[in-house]
């Protein structure tokens, strides 16, 4: 098994993002977000519960399609 620290992985990935001109913003994140079309009913239910739990305590859930 390979081992890497989270810090080293972050530096590696951020260096690559800069090299390829990747910008982390809402548009790029949205393009990567699962469409939700192939989710199972159980997964949809799980995501619905996550959203409900988050809203119940005033947290903003991550955007997801389900």
């Amino acid at each position: 098994m390979k081992t890497i620290t989270l810090t080293a992985l972050r530096e590696q990935v951020e260096r690559k993002k800069a090299a390829i001109g990747w910008v982390d913003d809402e548009a790029s994140t949205a393009a990567l977000r699962n469409s939700g079309r192939t989710r199972t009913p159980a997964k949809r239910e799980m995501l619905g519960q996550i959203e409900a739990r988050a809203k119940a305590v005033g947290r903003k859930p991550l955007s997801s399609n389900y």
Partner: protein
């Protein structure tokens, strides 16, 4: 977006559960699916549901419960989902079967350390690229986000073993050429 602090805090707790699981079974639990992609892209892709693979469901459940996770109840029945009360905006679920149907080279797993010894284990970039391409190929409605995730992982990875990647993509029924945008749209 950068990985949210809450996500990192949840992974820190998950690392505790992984350590408990490994101590109890001698095997490692593995963060797979979108959760692994979130770590490998450092938040470019994010997912609120984290899928875990572990050979023993019972030992994984014990480890999660001892680390503060609670069972999620779905429509009156107990299912395989868990969440941590401090981070209700995330869910954790155990997946069954073998890791990538037993086709992945487990020596390529990556242990991402948060502290000196504690961390989480994720698949190799090669295996996650193949997984995403396989899911893209398998979906009748062509979820292009899966292709975009594979293409981004391909561009972010360092020292990819292309020979292994080609084999794994073939295993998963994907198309290597899509990574370079030779078909369909690029990232």
């Amino acid at each position: 977006m950068a990985i949210p602090d809450t996500y990192l805090a949840l992974l820190d707790i998950l690392a505790d559960a992984f350590a408990r699981y490994e101590t109890a079974t001698g095997h490692c639990a593995i963060l797979v699916g979108g959760g692994a992609v979130a770590v490998q892209t450092q938040g470019a892709f994010m997912s609120g549901d984290l899928d875990l693979y572990a050979p023993s469901d019972a030992a994984l459940e014990t480890a999660l419960l001892h680390s503060g996770f609670v069972r999620e109840e779905r429509r009156g029945r107990l299912a395989g989902g868990f969440y941590h009360p401090e981070f209700p905006e995330y869910g954790v679920e155990a997946i069954s079967g073998q890791l990538f149907d037993g086709r992945a080279d487990r020596t390529r797993l990556i242990r991402v350390l948060f502290h000196e010894t504690k961390g989480i284990v994720i698949p190799s970039f090669e295996d996650m690229i193949a997984d995403r391409l396989g899911q893209y190929a398998a979906s009748s409605q062509r979820d292009h986000s899966r292709l975009a995730q594979a293409q981004l992982l391909f561009r972010l990875a360092e020292d990819l073993d292309v020979s292994y990647l080609r084999v794994r993509i073939a295993d998963e029924g994907g198309n290597f050429d899509l990574l370079e945008g030779k078909e369909a749209g690029g990232v």
